[in-house]
Amino acid sequence: MSHMKKPLVHHPALRRNALGLTHRDYEASMSTLCAGCGHDSITAAIIEACWELDLPAHRVAKLSGIGCSSKTPTYFLGRSHGFNSVHGRMPSITTGANLANRELVYVGVSGDGDTASIGLGQFCHAVRRKLDMTYIVMNNGCYGLTKGQFSATNDKASPSKKGEPNPFDAIDLCQMAISLGAGFVARSFSGDKAQLVPLIMAAIRYHGFAFLDVISPCVTFNNHPTSTKSFDYVRAHNAALDRVDFIEGREEITVAYGEGTAVDVEMHDGSRLRLFKVDGSHDPRSADDALATIRRKAAIGEVATGLLYVNEEQQDLHDVLHSSVRPLNAIPWSELCPGSKALEKINAALR
């Protein structure tokens, strides 16, 4: 029974990062998800990524909507404030939180139902606003918590557990995010930690809207081999565009883009995501390329994973709004309240 298990984090629990913290310090309550749920692996990857990045947990805010996936923030970063909001509305809550304090790291977790159905509008508009956050969708093609109905990301014809084919086209959140101007768009698989962890690290370091669509099989309702969101299917059809490696700091780049098989994508703080091209054709800096690649792979039944698109100099919402470089929740009262003199001027103008 899953309540006996903790999220599987493969590491000697004792290793300490620059803050002297162990993985344990980035964990939280025990998962109450089904044993084997893909979401638990993503939880583990988030923990791993935050530990690797030496993040001070209290400078991270974790937010989610409603669903099995949206429960996971209870399972990671126990020292961070969390907000398990309402179904499909995590983006607006995160927008407000980010406006109030631009200095924290915002990790939003959602599900495919939470994002592609009830939350589709908020998702699209959060992308447009270039909210500085990491938005992770744990994508299992179904509504886990309500017992397995198809979600809008379930592929057409991919059958339910009972064998009924899904009659509707799937919504590809990555294509949507790219055409809406997201700055960082990646797809991964809960079963591919080597790819997932560096992508999460880069997403967190990215300044702007970073979107991660992580296919995460629902072992209870949507993991039958005929389902295109099952472990078996995804393993068999996973087309990784590149091997990825996250590099902290600014040390010399050996291989430059074009020269060979490696691409370095630079984050705003100088850290880099190094891509060892598997499929040489695809340039993640071009939205047109990204869309074409995704559609080409999809057409032959493959799932393109890896860093699909990145815009290396995106502005975030605060840049756009010209808001103070200080957190808005910490501006001194003297700068907030104009006082009676200003009011007297206003009165005068209204006489």
Partner: protein
């Protein structure tokens, strides 16, 4: 009743024709002459080409409520001649553009024909100018007919045109043309006319939305999200306008953030996210927006997140009458969202109170850690009112309520004798201590959720724990009743058995009605509700009177229902006086309601 400094004049025009600014000049001039005026815009729900009325009541006595019966009609819209002529009281006047002469067939009124179009055509060639100056020309005629002080009018114009000399001259020319024509052709001034007075000292002219936007600036709001909707749009526009001037930091960056959200669900969500993260946050909406915010309001209520919502009420239900006024969202707001929920409501009655209560709302939201809804309406919000000037005490410090700093967290055990827990009632007032993200490396982190949780914010499915938390929140509302603004009680006669309960924009009609009733020998006391939950004074007032009229601008007697339901007051004692045609309330309506006490139709209206 009409006469010097006491009359009603209505301008019938077409929207988009530029008459608004001319009408504004007229009203402002009377104000500057020291005469209280209450102008009201009756505009259609479209952008251009439909009938619009600008109704101005002039009352040296300071009665600002609407009054029926037009003494002087400025009929500039041929589409509506018929109803406009009908609106004039016998013995009244009708000014119209006689470039196309017509007989209005009313012997009992005086028609004042002025060939305005012709005059303007004569002096201007550009069609747009011709149109615009027509408006100034009729204002000019009025300066003659009503004996307005030309110097004052000129100054108002100068101010409005920010002194642009050329423009001022052109406008003055139009003004003079109209004035001269009137002086030359009619017996000026008319018996109804203006006379300088001292009725506006210490007053300003301001809309409630402008005042509320300013309140948010003064209260230190830094996060605002909204979605455009009439009549609340101008509230957020005012916040932005004032913040741009008053909230720039040294590097020219903004000490506030405003997001035009994709809809109202997102708008309230952004505001709640901001409140959760320690910024004073608000949104503003009307009608349909309120319905869409229900789910989120329930979350903020139960997760105890401070947020301020301005509801500028309009005519419901559904899309209803977007450009008319009502007080019909009381139940929708008091009990917004499924489950056991209730919300703190404030009821401003004037623009000045939009400023004071608007600012108070942010303190209350922080202190009570719950949504506070400011219940304004279109009448207060969008019309320009003669209202007390705004004042601010520079010693004011915002009460952010129980928010723990890092030191506060470290010292909590010491100070309170127990460990901190997000939803613990430590002080016996049922208000817990909150913490903000990023405050302390190891202490104070908790998980905010709308699902059932215990006193330490831990998820629970133990119903007894859930009930315990709900009970505390209920007690928190008992605390709220003791700290919300108290009602305003007007005692005309200690011995009076008749009371009138009212709120919001009904204030002017009710206070005028008290005078009218007194003239009829009916002495009544009044209580103006300023907040929900009700403070004790409300029940006391009901107890102290045999019959209490509840004056409301809605169909279902929603405040009466709250009084019965929340205070258990017998329905028999509460007599509904309900006006819901979207027009702001008149003293005559209140007077009739009281005199016709218990009239079945009205009693029925509350069923």
């Amino acid at each position: 009743m009409s006469g010097i400094n006491d009359f009603v004049i209505t301008f019938a025009t077409v929207n988009g024709s530029g008459s608004a600014s001319a009408n504004g000049i007229f009203a402002k001039s009377l104000f500057r002459m020291g005469i209280p005026v209450s102008p009201k815009n009756l505009f259609p729900s479209n952008i251009q080409g439909l009938p619009t009325w600008y109704e101005v009541r002039v009352s040296e006595a300071g009665y600002l409520a609407r009054r029926e019966g037009v003494d002087l009609m400025v009929a500039m819209n041929s589409q509506t001649y018929e109803q406009d002529v009908a609106a004039v009281v016998p013995g009244g006047w009708l000014l119209y553009d006689s470039s196309l002469p017509r007989d209005f067939g009313r012997g009992d009124i005086t028609v004042l024909p002025i060939p305005i179009a012709a005059i303007c055509a004569e002096h201007w060639t550009d069609t747009r100018q011709r149109q615009l100056f027509k408006n100034i020309a009729y204002v000019g005629a009025l300066t003659g007919l009503l004996d307005l002080d030309p110097a004052v009018v000129r100054q108002v114009m100068v101010d409005q045109l920010k002194g642009k000399a050329a423009l001022v001259d052109a406008n003055m020319k139009a003004l003079t043309l109209g004035r001269e024509y009137a002086l030359a052709h009619f017996g000026c001034p008319l018996p109804i006319r203006a006379r300088s007075a001292a009725g506006t000292d210490g007053r300003i002219m301001l809309t409630g939305n402008d005042a509320a936007g300013l309140a948010a600036v003064y209260a230190g709001a830094t996060v605002c999200a909204w979605y455009p909707i009439t009549p609340s749009t101008s509230l957020v526009e005012a916040f932005e306008r004032h913040a741009r001037r008053l909230r720039m930091d040294p590097e020219g960056r903004r000490n506030y953030g405003i997001v035009q959200a994709e809809d109202e669900l997102a708008a309230i969500g952004v505001a709640i996210g901001g409140g959760w993260n320690g910024a004073r946050s608000f949104t503003a909406t009307s009608g349909p927006g309120i319905s869409l915010m229900g789910e989120f309001l329930g979350l903020a209520y139960y997760a105890e997140v401070p947020v301020v919502l301005f509801n500028v009420q309009r005519g419901g239900p559904s899309t209803g009458m977007p450009t008319r006024t009502q007080q019909s969202d009381l139940l929708a707001c008091a009990y917004a969202s499924h489950g056991d929920t209730r919300h703190v409501l404030l009821f401003p009655s004037t623009p000045t109170e939009c400023f004071t209560l608007g600012a108070a709302a942010f303190d209350l939201a922080d202190r009570l850690q719950t949504p506070v809804i400011v219940m304004s309406d279109l009448d207060i919000g969008m019309n320009e009112w003669v209202t007390e000037e705004l004042t601010w005490d520079d010693t004011t410090v915002p009460d952010r309520g129980k928010v723990l700093t890092a030191e506060g967290l470290d010292g909590f055990r010491e100070l309170k004798g127990r460990e901190w827990g997000r939803y613990q009632d430590v002080d016996g007032d049922a208000i817990p201590y909150r913490t903000l993200p990023g405050t302390h490396p190891t202490k104070g982190a908790f998980f905010t959720r709308g699902s059932s949780h215990d006193e330490n914010a831990r998820y629970t499915e133990d119903g007894r724990v859930h009930a315990r938390v709900l009970d505390r929140i209920r007690r928190k509302f008992a605390t709220a009743a003791t700290i919300v603004p108290k009602p305003e009680v007007t005692i005309r006669d200690e011995a009076a058995r008749t009371g009138i309960i009212h709120f919001g924009s009904s204030i002017h009609a009710v206070h005028e009605a008290l005078d009218l009733l007194e003239q009829e020998g009916v002495l009544a006391n009044a209580l103006r509700i300023r907040a929900f939950p009700f403070s004790d004074e409300v029940a006391d007032f009901c107890r102290a009177h045999d019959r209490v009229f509840v004056v409301e601008q809605n169909r279902d007697g929603q405040m009466r229902l709250l009084l019965m339901g929340e205070l258990g007051i017998p329905g028999a004692k509460l007599i509904p006086a309900l006006s819901y045609d979207g027009m702001s309330l008149t003293a005559a309506f209140v007077r009739e309601a009281v005199l016709a006490a218990g009239h079945p139709a009205e009693a029925g209206a509350a069923k």
